[in-house]
């Protein structure tokens, strides 16, 4: 069972993600801030992180930079309200990008795609 780290500062959204992604058969751990996410990343191992760009204090982008810098090999999917980031992220540090929506299908598809890619050995 793939283990996901979901980072969002909105408790209800964390709850929604947990619910929906657990239903998909993933083990979901949530974090409400970049700091909490870093702590969890250091103590546990994850297969994938879903990070909201707009976080309090440190942004999702900064967290992503930190993950890359600290040699975590974990793939990252960024979530944002701005569709404009999509063009810039396609070949960017993040492995996936989704525009936040109440319909989580796009996110679920993206998670499945990235995990499949990881399984093929792209991140080892």
């Amino acid at each position: 069972m793939a283990k996901l780290l979901v980072v969002d500062d909105e408790a209800n959204i964390r709850l929604l993600y947990s619910q929906e992604l657990s239903d998909e058969g993933y083990q979901v751990v949530t974090a409400g801030s970049a700091l909490e996410a870093v702590e969890k990343l250091e103590s546990e191992s994850f297969d994938l992180a879903v990070i909201d760009i707009k976080l309090k204090n440190e942004s999702g982008i900064e967290l992503l930079q930190r993950i890359v810098k600290e040699r975590h090999t974990i793939p990252v999917i960024l979530c944002t309200a701005f569709s404009c980031y999509k063009d810039d992220f396609s070949a960017w540090l993040a492995d996936g990008y989704v525009v936040k929506s109440s319909d989580l299908q796009e996110l679920k598809d993206e998670i499945a795609r990235v995990l499949a890619k990881r399984q093929r050995g792209a991140y080892v």
């Binding site: 909105e10 209800n12 959204i13 929604l16 619910q19 929906e20 239903d23 760009i53 707009k54 942004s59 982008i61 900064e62 930079q65 309200a81 701005f82 569709s83 404009c84 980031y85 063009d87 810039d88 070949a91 960017w92 540090l93 525009v99 936040k100 929506s101 109440s102 319909d103 989580l104």
Partner: protein, 540 residues
Amino acid sequence: MDWECCWSREQIEPESCPYIGEGEEDLLVSQRRRIVEKCVECPRFKNDLARMKGAGYPLSDVLPYILTEFQEQKAQMGAMLSFLNSKTREIKFLREVGLVLQTSLDLDEVLSIAMTAITAGKGFGMNRAFLLMTDKDRRHIRGYLGVGPRDYEEAWRTWEDIGRSNFTLRQLARDFQKTKLTSEKVKFHDILNQLTVPLADQGHIFNRALTGKKPILVENALNNPDLDRGLARILGVDTFLVMPLISRNRRIGVIIADNCITHKPITLQDMQSLETFAFPVAFALERASLYERLQEEVAKQKSANVKLREQQELIVKMEKMALVGKITSSIAHSIRNPLMVIGGFARTLLKGAPDDDDKRGYLESIVRETRQLEDVLSEVLDYSESLFPVTDFWDLNELVGKAMGELEGALEQAGVHCRLELAPELPMVRIDYKQISYCLKTITATALATMEPGGELRIESVLDGDGVLLRISDDGKSLTQTAQEALIAPFFQTQELGEGVGLSLCKSILERQGNSLTIISRPGGGNTYSIRLLTRKENI
């Protein structure tokens, strides 16, 4: 003794002296004036003197000496009078010309009066004159204007017209400016084009005249070993005058004057008169040229002011739009998350609800309406995002790599090789990714426009204090100061705001985000565009 000449008689009859002509009748009754003006030259008087000597008159030995001396003095007086008359005419003429030269700021008027004065019979009466002027960058003397007839027929026609017109010199100059200046500028185009001489060529006769500050009369040019025969061949004459035009030690130009039609010799007096005339002409030409340039600068300033005003208005408008965008974005953001939660959980509940559950209809309504609201929000956010920058911390090297990857096609088409020299471990820069990417692409496109196939474009990133410097260097044609100013002039092409505004928009974008854009052009070729991006957060 019976004298042959009438000198001894107080009054005479007209038939007594054959040398008294019409209009000189008063000499018949004035003995003194008759002797001084007529008898001293009269052969009969000389016969009378000889007879006196033969008769042993005591003064007859002395009188011839006195007479000779008197005649010499009289001739000298005559010559001086003629010289004075000619000088008086010249002063009157110079005064007339000088008045215009001193007051006129119109280059065409100055040219007209100067060239008319040299070539008109009422002026210096030369057949033809060429004006050569030092060019703006002060490297060459170039042919500017030629005045005079091209052949005998034209000369005859022109001189006949002028003879009939009875114009004063000033009127002639005005008539020339009005009716002939434009055509004369092109008439001697072929000759003028061949008269360009570098100011550094010290041996050339033009420069020799300018250095010596004295006119040079060239005679027998085709057989003079010290002279370049080419000049005589271009002019088609072997005698001409080269007159330097110098104002306050500045080399303004040269006038070449000749008598290509009449072949009348150029005298020392012609040279001296023209030399006197050359100074006010040089001064007036310099002043009129400076005034013309000043007018050009004033016009540029005026147009810059108009552009600046346009820019200010546009900035105010953009700032208002940015504020609207910011507010809209903020509202949309605060709505989006709750909406996502509502819609998301409605979907979760819907998934778990049995098919016959009455609540399914309500849940489906929530999902549908939420979806609709989210679509509206997406549109609002996309629009507001275009109105103000979305700044975040980005890795500049990554941005460069990606932007240049997108420009691969353009680089290939231009035949230009791109070399990236990106410093490792650079701090993140706080920028709007899309806008900086646009700036880099625009600068690259601008650089490519000046480059030749086979050229190299170098892109470097270096740490620079509290910022990161991105340098884009081309090896293309060096941009002039004016071109640089035009490129980054505020909203240089306001009508094209959006796509294609180019560097002016880049500069505006960068400065609004606290960054800067500078352009340095190397004199030997090549330009470097430097963007300085800040790494600090509080500057936004």
